[in-house]
C-alpha cells in the first residue's frame, strides 16, 4: 500500500486549524488571491471543468458542467447554496470539514462564486450542527475582517456575502429543491423539475447547489491545476474522497483516499477489517440509499462510474459495514423505518409505498412473516421507483429491493427473526 495522498484532510489534526491565521500560514487563500489577480472567472470555471470534479453530495454530477447551466447575461441575481445538510444515514464527512477547516470551505465558496458571478451564498447546514454553524459564522467574520469576503475583495471589484442558514430536522431538505423551499422559509417539499435550479432556483433566480466537500476541493484545483487533480483519481472522477466508514469495522472513521480506491482496501486495510474477528456479511457503500453489496461483491473501485456499474451508488461515500451474525432483517427494518419517516408525503407512490414497506417489514420482524412477503417488498419497491417527484422515492426503493433480492433466502428462512438486536 502506498501512502494515501491527503488533500482535504491533511491538516485536520492541527489544534489551531479552524483559525484563519493557521489556514493562511499553510497557504490558505493563496488560490483565491491567484484567481482574483490573474484569472478571469471563465478561466476558474474551465479549470474546474477540466479537473473532472464530480459532486460529493450523492449524485456525482460534474461540478463544472453544472455551473455551465447558469444562464449567461441574466440581469437577475444569482445564488450559491452550499448543501451542508448531511442527513444521509452513514455520512459524517462534511461535519469534519466544517468543524476542522471552515476556511477551506469559505475559500471554495468565494472561488466558485467568482467563477459563476455570484454575490450571495447560503450555507444550508443541518439543524443539529448548531455548534458547528456558530463556528462557521465565526470563521466567516474572520474572513470578512481579513478582506477575503465582503465588498471589493482584494481590490478586485468582486463582492460576496455568505449567510449560514440552519435546517431543522428533515432529511428531505438535503434534496436540492426541497433545500431551496426550506431556505425560503417553507416546508421542505421538493419542487417539480424542470425548471431546474440553474434557471429558476432560490427566490426564482438562477442557483448553483453544491455539497460542502465538492466546494472544498476547488481551492486545491485552482492552486495545483486540473491535471494534478485528475492524476489523484481516475480519468472521469478526479481527486480524493473522504470516505466515512462505520458499522462493524475495527477502526471506524474518515479515510481520505483517491477516487477509485477499492472498497475491499478501504475496509480491510484502512478501517482495520471487521470488528471482533467476525466475518464480513455485506456493505452499504455510499450512504443508506445505495443498494447493498454482498461480501463477495466488494472488489469494486470507489468512483462514481465503477460503483454504478456494480449496481450500486457511490453516493455520499458513507460506507456502512455489516458483519456476519447481524440479521439482515435488522438492517432492513432500519432502512424501511427511515424512509417511511422521512417521505414528505407529496406523492402517493412514495408516501404509501414507504409506509407499506415499513409495515410489511415490521410484521416480518414480529414473527408474522408470510410466504410472498419478499415478493411483496419487491413489488412495492418497483411501484415507487421512477414514479416520484423527487429522488427520495428511488432512494427508498433501491436499498429495499437490493436487500430483498440478495438476501431472499435468509429473509424467507425466518432465521434470526427473534434476534433482531445483536
Amino acid at each position: 500500500m502506498t501512502k494515501a495522498p491527503q488533500v482535504l484532510t491533511e491538516f485536520f489534526w492541527l489544534e489551531q486549524l479552524p483559525r484563519i491565521e493557521a489556514y493562511v500560514a499553510r497557504g490558505g487563500y493563496e488560490a483565491l488571491k491567484k484567481a482574483l489577480a490573474q484569472m478571469k472567472p471563465d478561466e476558474v470555471h474551465d479549470e474546474v471543468r477540466k479537473a473532472g470534479l464530480r459532486g460529493r453530495g450523492g449524485a456525482g454530477f460534474p461540478a463544472g458542467v453544472k455551473w455551465g447551466f447558469i444562464p449567461k447575461g441574466t440581469d437577475k441575481p444569482k445564488y450559491l447554496c452550499v448543501n451542508a445538510d448531511e442527513g444521509e444515514p452513514g455520512t459524517f464527512k462534511d461535519r469534519s470539514i466544517l468543524s476542522h477547516d471552515p476556511h477551506l470551505l469559505i475559500e471554495g465558496i468565494v472561488l466558485t462564486s467568482y467563477a459563476v458571478g455570484i454575490h450571495a451564498a447560503y450555507v444550508y447546514i443541518r439543524g443539529e450542527y448548531e455548534m458547528i454553524a456558530r463556528r462557521l459564522e465565526g470563521a466567516i467574520d474572520e474572513a470578512r475582517r481579513a478582506g477575503f469576503l465582503g465588498r471589493n475583495i482584494f481590490g478586485s471589484g468582486f463582492d460576496l456575502e455568505i449567510v449560514v442558514h440552519r435546517g431543522a430536522g428533515a432529511y428531505v431538505c438535503g434534496e436540492e429543491t426541497a433545500l431551496l423551499e426550506s431556505l425560503e422559509g417553507k416546508r421542505g417539499n421538493p419542487r417539480l423539475k424542470p425548471p431546474f435550479p440553474a434557471a429558476v432556483g432560490l427566490f426564482q433566480c438562477p442557483t448553483v447547489i453544491n455539497n460542502v466537500e465538492t466546494l472544498a476541493n476547488v481551492p486545491f484545483i485552482i492552486r495545483n491545476g486540473a491535471p494534478w487533480f485528475l492524476d489523484l483519481g481516475v480519468p472521469k472522477d478526479g481527486g480524493t474522497r473522504i470516505f466515512g466508514v462505520s458499522g462493524a469495522v475495527a477502526k471506524p472513521g474518515l479515510y481520505e483516499l483517491p477516487s477509485g480506491t477499492s472498497l475491499r482496501e478501504i475496509i480491510f486495510t484502512h478501517a482495520g477489517g471487521i470488528k471482533d474477528g467476525r466475518k464480513l456479511k455485506a456493505v452499504i457503500p455510499g450512504g443508506m440509499s445505495s443498494p447493498i453489496l454482498r461480501a463477495d461483491e466488494i472488489d469494486v473501485h470507489m468512483d462514481v462510474d465503477s460503483v454504478a456499474a456494480a449496481g450500486s451508488m457511490l453516493g455520499s461515500g458513507g460506507i456502512i459495514v455489516i458483519a456476519d451474525g447481524t440479521p439482515i432483517l435488522q438492517v432492513l427494518r432500519k432502512v424501511a423505518a427511515f424512509y417511511a419517516h422521512e417521505s414528505c408525503g407529496q406523492c402517493t407512490p412514495c408516501r404509501l409505498g414507504t409506509s407499506w414497506i415499513h409495515k410489511t417489514v415490521e410484521r416480518m420482524a414480529a414473527g408474522r412473516g408470510q410466504a410472498g412477503d419478499v415478493d411483496a417488498l419487491l413489488r412495492l419497491a418497483a411501484n415507487i421507483q421512477g414514479r416520484t417527484l423527487c429522488p427520495l422515492g428511488d432512494a427508498a426503493a433501491m436499498p429495499v429491493a437490493a436487500i430483498a433480492r440478495k438476501f431472499r433466502t435468509e429473509l424467507e428462512s425466518g432465521l434470526d427473526r427473534a434476534g433482531v438486536r445483536p
Binding site: R95, S182, G253, P422
Partner: protein
C-alpha cells in the same frame, strides 16, 4: 400564556430577517432563535413571529409541524436525542435506547415527571464513527455503553 417578545428579541429577529432579500426566508432561523430563548414555540409565539415577518400564522404552523426540531410543547431541561439509525444500531444503539428508557422511566418521546429529561429517538446524527451516540441539548456524546450513560446522566444536575 407566554410573555410578549422583549425588545431585544424583536431586534434580533429583525436583524435575521434583514439577512435575506425576502423576510419570510428568515423563518427557520427565527424559529430557532425563539425556541432557544423560550424553550419551545407556543401558538402565541407563532402568531408573533408571523406578525413580525409579515406572513399568515398558518404558514408558521405549517413549518413548525414539518420540521422535527421545532417544539410546540416544552421539553425537559436536558433533551436527550438518541440515534436509532443503522450505524448506531450495529454498535448496540437500540439497547442503549432501551437502557435510557428503563433508567429514566419514560418511553422514547416522553419527559420525566420532574421535567428534567426528555428522551427522543432520532435519525442519523451525522456522527456514525462514534456509534452509538446521542445528543444532549446541542452537545454530542459518542462511543457509549450502559455504564457511560449512567455516568453521563449522573453528571447532569
Amino acid at each position: 400564556m407566554s410573555a410578549a417578545f422583549s425588545p431585544e428579541l424583536i431586534g434580533k429577529i429583525e436583524a435575521l430577517a434583514g439577512r435575506y432579500p425576502v423576510k419570510a426566508a428568515s423563518l427557520l432561523p427565527v424559529l430557532h432563535l425563539v425556541q432557544s430563548e423560550r424553550g419551545h414555540v407556543s401558538a402565541e409565539d407563532e402568531r408573533a413571529v408571523a406578525g413580525l415577518l409579515g406572513m399568515p400564522p398558518v404558514k408558521v404552523r405549517e413549518v413548525m409541524t414539518f420540521y422535527t426540531m421545532f417544539r410546540r410543547i416544552p421539553v425537559g431541561r436536558y433533551h436527550i436525542q438518541v440515534c436509532t439509525n443503522l450505524s448506531c444500531a450495529l454498535a448496540g444503539g437500540d439497547s442503549l435506547a432501551a437502557h435510557l428508557e428503563t433508567k429514566l422511566g419514560v418511553k422514547l418521546g416522553g419527559t420525566t415527571a420532574d421535567g428534567k429529561f426528555t428522551l427522543t429517538g432520532v435519525e442519523c446524527l451525522g456522527a456514525c464513527e462514534t456509534a452509538p451516540c446521542l445528543m444532549i441539548n446541542f452537545d454530542y456524546y459518542g462511543n457509549l455503553d450502559a455504564a457511560r450513560i449512567d455516568d453521563l446522566l449522573g453528571s447532569l444536575t
